[in-house]
């Protein structure tokens, strides 16, 4: 929907080919730099995977420059990220241990890869008891390179640059539901979401407070153990008793409901917008991030297209009147691309609204896309490499 309306809003060529190539050049060089190690000790599959990702990421950035649209091209990357991450991850798990489940033996030996989603849950025990309530290892080991220190370091570094945009440029889980949300042509339950948007937006905060406090009280990563829908497509505690069986049922139910069915029906990222406590936590970083989306009141005609197009309901009538997005805006660019009056604009905090929106967009995209290439690109390359391994070519 958003891309169609944006196609109406802007001419097909927002910027000339030459200028677009010039603006893309730094990103092409960056992509090469990021994937040079892949070429050094590459097998044929790795070479193809890395080359495909360089072309893919650079090509999408070129199209962002050429068309002036962000959302449509970002979504292609993000959905690919969402669907290729489980491919690479599950294949690696199955190759290593023959199953997606984590046996208790791997938990006690610290071999569980750390997932950034658990970050809010571990903060209080880490701060007050110096204890990490996650069955991983602090430092990387041969059997667990995705240690807690490495993954938190990576998340924090990316968050400094992206803020809440992590949720639309780095989080591979969000890509899965964005893919399902992109499938239908018609939007259902729209009235319900518009009417109860304010309440729905509060749910992730309530879950965040709940998981942080309960995790600290019982010294367990409650979200991981009970509420994470993405356990269904990554790894989950092996079913060994009634409790772990119930957990498994909960994971599958949440995944089917929040990541597949509701996004398909509503064309919204329902898990991200109305459930994910990590997303709520990440929203706090919007306060320190310099980039945001603003509504230019001089151009706005209150048509509500921006509100309708937002995948996480980060705009309300009141916020539009104030010319702002809400705290949970993940800077995906859907509203900017949907606005036919160019009233929704990229903005650099501290500068006059709508003074240089394209400059703000470029500054935002260079930093964010560079890190999306670094982090998401490696995930994509791994997924492509895995898929090539499945082909009956060998």
């Amino acid at each position: 929907m958003a891309s169609r309306s944006s196609a109406l809003a802007r001419p097909p060529a927002f910027r000339g080919v030459g200028r677009s190539i010039l603006l893309t050049l730094p990103m092409a060089l960056w992509s090469l730099l990021m994937f040079t190690p892949s070429f050094q000790h590459a097998s044929g599959d790795h070479y193809i995977g890395a080359a495909a990702v360089i072309l893919f990421m650079t090509g999408l950035f070129f199209l962002m420059m050429r068309t002036g649209e962000t959302y449509r091209w970002r979504r292609i990357f993000f959905v690919a990220l969402g669907f290729l991450f489980p491919v690479g991850f599950i294949a690696a798990l199955v190759a290593e241990r023959g199953t997606m489940s984590i046996p208790i033996s791997r938990m006690v030996s610290g071999d569980t890869p750390f997932c950034f989603m658990v970050t809010p849950s571990i903060i209080l025990p880490a701060a007050f008891a110096r204890t990490v309530i996650f069955p991983g290892s602090i430092l990387p080991t041969a059997s667990n390179p995705h240690s807690i220190a490495i993954m938190i370091g990576l998340w924090f570094a990316l968050t400094l640059v992206m803020g809440k945009a992590w949720c639309s440029y780095a989080c591979f889980f969000g890509g899965i539901e964005e893919g399902f949300a992109a499938l239908p042509k018609r939007r259902r339950l729209h009235r319900f979401i518009t009417r109860f948007g304010a309440q729905l937006r509060l749910i992730p905060w309530a879950i965040l407070v709940f998981v942080v406090l309960v995790s600290a009280a019982i010294f367990e990563p409650v979200y991981c153990m009970w509420l994470c829908p993405f356990k269904a497509v990554t790894e989950f505690p092996a079913v060994r008793n009634v409790e772990t069986a119930i957990q498994m049922v909960v994971f599958i139910a949440l995944f089917v409901g929040l990541v597949v069915v509701l996004p398909y029906l509503t064309k919204k990222r329902t898990q991200c917008g109305f459930f994910c406590p990590f997303g709520a936590f990440q929203s706090l970083f919007n306060k320190i991030n310099l980039f945001e989306i603003r509504i230019n009141r001089e151009k706005c005609v209150d048509c509500g297209l921006c509100q309708t197009s937002c995948p996480t309901v980060a705009l309300s009538k009141d916020s539009i009147r104030e010319g702002k997005t809400l705290l949970n805006c993940m800077k995906c660019g859907a509203c900017v691309d949907a606005c036919k009056k160019d009233a929704a604009v990229w903005h650099l905090k501290g500068t006059p609204v709508a003074a240089k929106p394209e400059r703000a967009r470029l500054l935002f995209l260079y930093g964010t896309w560079a890190l999306a290439t670094m982090f998401g690109g490696s995930v994509l390359a791994n997924g492509v490499h895995t898929l090539i391994g499945f082909l009956p070519l060998k």
């Binding site: 990021m34 023959g98 046996p103 208790i104 033996s105 791997r106 938990m107 006690v108 030996s109 610290g110 071999d111 025990p125 880490a126 110096r130 204890t131 990490v132 309530i133 996650f134 069955p135 991983g136 290892s137 602090i138 430092l139 059997s143 807690i148 220190a149 490495i150 938190i152 370091g153 990576l154 924090f156 570094a157 990316l158 400094l160 640059v161 009280a217 019982i218 010294f219 367990e220 092996a238 060994r240 008793n241 310099l290 980039f291 650099l348 905090k349 501290g350 500068t351 006059p352 703000a360 500054l363 260079y366 930093g367 964010t368 560079a370 890190l371 670094m374």
Partner: protein, 169 residues
């Protein structure tokens, strides 16, 4: 004037954000990871087994005895003590060891299990409590974080639950 200063600050900040972005893969990610690594954090004892109390040398293999792990106020685990047999490859086909867990010179539990030649084969074992502090286990595998006999890489990890109450040291 204020607008101009704010604008200059904003673009300076944006430029710094770009510098930070470029530094992430080369410097910053490692720096933040090192900061976390040196923050003095440790994995919760329910997962790691806690701290090592002492080791018992059995010639071909070693038994590492850990300090008892007490659950915190609302923690859902039973109190337990972890012992580790390592290296697993050096263990005989059948292990039956009487082990002094509390260091008083008298054995506290008898642990017995068969060691399959295949490292991925399921493992089960028995624990017989020789004093009232410990709880016996029969044909146990990886039932819970407090009751287990499992193979974890090159180790056989055994966790023995403890009775609640003052009988424990």
């Amino acid at each position: 004037m204020r607008t101009r200063i704010l604008t200059i600050l904003a673009y300076t900040g944006a430029a710094l954000t770009l510098v930070v972005a470029v530094c992430v893969p080369f410097v910053l990610m490692g720096a933040f990871s090192n900061a976390v690594a040196h923050a003095g954090l440790h994995i919760d004892a329910a997962y790691s087994g806690g701290t090592v109390a002492r080791t018992i040398d059995r010639g071909r293999y070693t038994i590492v005895v850990y300090q008892p792990v007490e659950p915190r106020l609302l923690e859902r685990i039973e109190p337990f003590v972890q012992i580790v047999f390592e290296p697993a490859e050096s263990l005989p086909a059948h292990v039956s060891d009487e082990i002094d867990l509390d260091g008083d010179g008298r054995p506290d539990v008898r642990v017995s299990f068969n060691v399959p030649a295949d490292a991925n084969a399921p493992l089960r074992g028995d624990v017989t409590a020789l004093n009232a502090t410990y709880i016996s286990l029969t044909n146990v595998a990886g039932e819970s974080f407090s009751r287990m006999v499992v193979r974890a890489g090159k180790q056989i990890v055994v966790r023995i639950p403890l009775h609640e109450g003052p009988a424990r040291r």
